[in-house]
């Protein structure tokens, strides 16, 4: 089903690949071979028919056309592998329904199996990518970096105890449990397994106890299970990778030793802590250094994102150097720096960082699963029914029992306890994946039954990924695990979340108890007082409410771009980047188009005064001039869209927008052309700062002591009308604009010019900006508004009757009017 297209793509590519890898054995790089190869590459669809057309080359003359395949072989093949994997990924998403029911990892393994089968049939060696070094130095870091960087920080720290508990104790439990059980099985002579000793069993058990959260998380995301389960699976997968790798290196060392002393056990435990804690400390160190560096990178924005990657990779490598947990190091580094770096760098760099992190991780992961499929076919296997079946059984059993027991222990310490259903979800979500696979292939050759271990590991991975991976969705949906509506991006929710946090913190204080919020509060203070001062370029602290507000505004701006400027080719790419930035998964996209859109319109009314204040405050930096143009432009888009869409801001009849009208909005020519790209480039900085400096906006409604009861907290025509006229005005009035404004009644338009005064002042006398704004407002407004204040006041009141929505802007009009009177 649905495999038509991707099947074609993949098969084409498989053929292509087989030709390239099949023909080019590096040990016989004769000219004939390369010509053959060339043919194959040129004619991928027809590989069986090698036409050696460039025969002429064999002459003694200066070769017109030469090839040196060996030179490029490794990067070339590597590129092709990545491409193949990526193409198959595209293929899956052509037909969405597949990935809903079958996890992507299954599909990738499936394709890998096919490719492996083909390679096997043509007797081709598997790619030499999967050596221990390649995996641990190049393929693993991006995956872990991605997990660390996108770790949902708040829920993680709320559940950190549970996560660590499951990750460390759970992994130990699994390793030792499975290892001992398998060792017991090995004692039976019937199974022909006596030559596997205890150490090797433990080593093997360690390999297969690493849980891979990716598949489970995708499904949990889709069905929207509650935050606790989600973060526990996520964190467990992340940290038990670290635990597993440590345990593995320990057991690998132990497996070589002839006998084990009790001292070694203690040394092992000590080493375990050194490795883990050392990794964390190293990560913290590099994280802070990275954050500190990013303070100074704003001038070299071209390479700004690079620092994130270099520092995290450095943390990883240094940890490897000292043989401490590199996974812990890179995770900690990512978590530590993320918060500070993202505040220091521009919006653009931030997007780039996120994008690249995701991209690298996806490529790595895709390749690993893909290779898993390939290697399953091409590697040597040793099949022992008893051992493999018992491995499956024990892995399943110990995981289940482990979760059960560990939850019983941890539940009394949790405020929200895990129900039986939650526990089942946790246990069943324990799929095995990449780490398990990689570790199995890094087993030393001197281990007796290495092939058996590899086979058993692969069997376990395939079993869990296919059987559990496919069945987990129906099961989770069937048993109705506690779900949650996560990430409601509304201001109210944010406000009340914060209120609750403070409230709980306060009540904890009242009870004299040190709860979770107590520590959170302490850390926040420490952070505000010391860390932020050192690490941030702009230390003005910012509440999460404000940042959400900014985020929504940013979204709004982009939305404006998208809807009115749909024809400009560059706009969609910006939008798609933004999607990535919002980590828009499927359910969220739904949300974006719905409620958020409403929010945008509402919020856009408040955009103006904020941004304008920014430029005034920041003094003469190079961006300043553009800001105004951009500013105005943005307002204009808002206005245009509103005037075009008329009545309701609930539905958006984009189709009704005729092209000519759209282009009217572009009329003011040069101004726009230059401003538009500029705006896109530095919109980040712009929006980033504008709120922070927003303290004493000149058009302050603080002065507007209007009786609050007259606030008609919005609506429709009126509310959309106000910003429209507001923003149209500052540009030189052109015929186009008037045309657009025809929808509005004269008097109200006139009246609403009041708030316009400030923007215009800014665009016209920029030099005055650093001066006191409060003072200049009246003056400037008075100067630019031809009618004297007295004549102007009644005008504002005049439309009072039909002031439909009486938006918030209206109040500021009232306010300024009032202040004139006094």
């Amino acid at each position: 089903m649905g495999g038509g297209i991707n099947g074609v793509i993949c098969m084409t590519f498989v053929l292509f690949l087989c030709c390239t890898t099949g023909i080019c054995n590096p040990n016989k790089p004769t000219p004939t071979d390369s010509t053959n190869l060339e043919t194959a590459i040129l004619l991928p669809d027809d590989p069986e028919d090698p036409q050696a057309y460039p025969e002429e080359e064999k002459g003694d003359n200066l070769p017109v056309f030469t090839m040196d395949y060996t030179r490029i072989q490794i990067p070339f093949e590597f590129t092709l592998w990545i491409l193949l994997a990526s193409f198959s990924k595209i293929g899956f998403h052509v037909y969405q329904k597949i990935t809903i029911w079958i996890p992507e990892s299954c599909l990738l393994i499936g394709i890998g199996l096919i490719v492996g089968g083909i390679m096997y049939s043509v007797k081709e060696e598997p790619p030499a990518v999967l050596t221990s070094n390649v995996f641990f130095l190049y393929m693993l870091p991006p995956i872990v970096l991605d997990s660390g960087y996108f770790m949902p920080t708040r829920p993680f720290f709320e559940n950190v105890g549970t996560v660590v508990w499951y990750a460390v104790v759970g992994t130990l439990w699994n390793s030792i449990g499975i290892g001992l059980s398998l060792f017991a099985i090995c004692q039976f002579e019937v199974f022909d397994l006596q030559n596997i000793n205890l150490q090797e069993n433990l080593l093997f058990a360690t390999i297969i106890s690493a849980v891979d959260p990716v598949a489970a998380l995708n499904i949990f995301d889709d069905v929207g299970v509650n935050e606790q389960i989600h973060i526990v699976i996520f964190g467990e997968g992340l940290f038990n990778d670290a635990v597993t790798v440590v345990l593995y290196s320990m057991f690998a060392f132990v497996a070589d030793m002839p006998a084990i002393d009790s001292v070694d056990v203690f040394l092992g435990v000590a080493r375990f802590f050194v490795v883990g804690v050392g990794g964390v400390l190293l990560g913290l160190l590099f994280g802070f250094v990275a954050a500190f560096t990013s303070r100074f990178t704003n001038k070299v924005w071209e390479i700004e994102p690079l620092f994130v990657f270099m520092y995290s990779y450095l943390a990883y490598l240094v940890a490897e150097l000292f043989a401490i947990s590199s996974i812990m190091a890179i995770i900690t580094c990512a978590i530590t720096m993320k918060y500070y770096v993202e505040e220091n760098v521009s919006q653009r760099s931030c997007t780039t960082i996120r994008h690249v992190v995701k991209m690298l991780a996806t490529v790595s992961e895709t390749l690993i699963f893909f290779f898993l499929g390939v290697v399953t076919i091409t590697t040597e296997h040793e099949w022992n029914w008893a051992y493999i079946l018992f491995t499956l059984l024990f892995a399943f059993l110990w995981r289940g029992v482990g979760i059960l027991v560990l939850t019983q222990i941890v539940n009394p310490f949790r405020t929200i306890q895990f129900t039986v259903k939650d526990q089942f979800g946790l246990a069943y979500g324990g799929l095995r994946g990449a780490i398990c696979f990689a570790l199995a292939f890094t087993l030393e050759d001197n281990i007796n039954r290495k092939n058996l271990f590899v086979t058993a590991s692969i069997a376990l991975i395939l079993f869990t990924v296919f059987v559990q991976g496919i069945s987990i969705r129906p099961i989770v949906e069937y048993i109705k695990i506690r779900r949650t509506n996560k990430d409601l991006n509304t201001i109210n929710v944010e406000i009340h979340t914060r209120t609750m946090e403070h409230l709980i913190c306060g009540v904890e204080d009242l009870c004299g108890q040190w709860g979770h919020y107590y520590w959170k509060d302490k850390f926040k203070k420490f952070n505000d007082r010391i860390l932020r001062r050192i690490l941030l370029r702009d230390t003005r602290s910012e509440s999460s409410i404000v940042s959400l507000y900014k985020k929504l505004e940013l979204q709004n701006a982009i939305e404006l771009l998208d809807t009115t400027m749909g024809d400009i080719s560059a706009a969609p790419s910006v939008v798609s980047l933004q999607d990535e930035l919002m980590e828009a998964s499927r359910p969220k996209k739904k949300f974006l188009t719905g409620d958020i859109r409403k929010m945008h319109d509402i919020l856009s009314k408040n955009m103006y005064k904020i941004r304008q204040r920014t430029t005034a405050f920041r003094g003469k930096n190079t961006l300043q001039d553009n800001n105004h143009a951009r500013e105005i432009l943005m307002r204009r888009h808002a206005s245009i869209r509103r005037s075009l869409h008329g009545q309701s801001f609930r539905e958006q009849p984009v189709q009704n927008v005729s092209k000519s009208l759209k282009y009217y909005s572009l009329q003011p020519g040069g101004n726009l052309d230059s401003a538009f790209p500029l705006r896109r480039r530095s919109r980040g900085e712009l929006l980033k700062d504008h709120l922070q400096t927003f303290g004493a906006s000149p058009r302050s409604s603080s002065r507007s002591l209007i009786p609050m009861t007259t606030l008609k907290t919005i609506k429709e025509q009126g509310s959309s009308g106000a910003p429209s006229s507001l923003s149209v005005h500052p540009l030189e009035p052109s015929s186009g604009e008037h045309h657009l404004d025809e929808g509005f009644s004269g008097p109200s338009l006139r009246g609403r010019k009041a708030p316009v005064a400030t923007p215009r002042r800014h665009s016209s006398n920029r030099d005055d900006e650093d001066e006191d704004n409060g003072f200049s407002e009246n003056q400037a407004a008075g100067a630019e508004q031809p009618p004297p204040p007295q004549g102007w006041v009644p005008e504002v009141r005049d439309p009072g009757a039909n002031e439909a929505g009486n938006p918030l802007l209206r109040q500021s009009a009232h306010g300024s009017q009032r202040s004139w009177r006094t």
């Binding site: 409230l503 009242l510 108890q513 602290s541 404000v546 507000y549 509402i602 609506k715 429709e716």
Partner: protein, 217 residues
């Protein structure tokens, strides 16, 4: 203090039934109550205001006020107390009980409603059943009051935006002359519908005594 405990053993039992706390928790809270009040029977605003740990809480005033609010006593009274006794103190605290595994769905729903109402009462300072824009602005202002340079302006803009959001969610078809007076409890519930309250709005009341680790007083 030992005498107090034996004397009120019966009383604890009764309170436990009314508030859902365990006897140990009540005992702990009672100790804390006496500590705060200086072994008096009632507690006043000044007592709470002098808790050092609370000094940096941006919404300290609201939190303290909530304890003296008659609406949070599960009755239908309005207004506020000058001083509260232990029972009232406990009643307010009982809003923050976390659900247990034994809590049924209906009970959870009821608890959630209670918590929402508590939040609502905190914001609705004049007790008229509506959070007006003035009140809402105050809330946001106080919330942001500890975050440095963000001043009243930002708070106002955000409160306004939030208010608009509430209005547009709840009264989608407001006529041009309509006027949104304030957030009612129903609207408030509507706004917070998707928010998971039970995982956030709770305090883990300890069963064991922590007297020895009290900081401050």
């Amino acid at each position: 203090m030992g005498a107090t405990q034996t004397r009120s053993g019966q009383e604890y039992q009764e309170l436990a039934e009314r508030t859902g706390f365990s006897a140990e928790q009540i005992r702990n809270l009672h100790k804390r109550f006496q500590q705060l009040s200086g072994n008096e029977d009632t507690i006043s605003r000044e007592h709470l205001k002098s808790i050092p740990a609370l000094a940096n809480n941006p919404i300290r005033k609201q939190i303290i006020e909530a304890f003296f609010d008659k609406r949070n006593q599960h009755g239908n009274e309005l207004g506020s107390y000058e001083e509260i006794g232990f029972e009232e103190f406990l009643m307010v605290m009982s809003h923050f009980r976390p659900p247990t595994l034994r809590t049924t769905e209906e009970e959870k729903e009821a608890m959630r409603k209670e918590k929402v109402r508590f939040l609502f009462n905190m914001h609705d300072t004049d007790g008229d059943g509506k959070i007006t824009l003035v009140e809402y602005r105050k809330v946001v202002e106080e919330l942001l009051s500890k975050s440095g340079t963000i001043g009243q302006e930002a708070a106002k803009a955000i409160a306004d935006a939030a208010m608009l959001e509430v209005a547009s969610t709840n009264v989608p078809n407001m006529g041009p002359d309509d006027f949104y007076e304030g957030i009612t409890l129903e609207h408030f519930e509507e706004i917070l519908k998707g928010l998971e309250m039970e995982t956030r709005m709770h305090v883990r009341f300890l069963d064991v005594s922590t007297t020895n680790v009290y900081c401050g007083k």
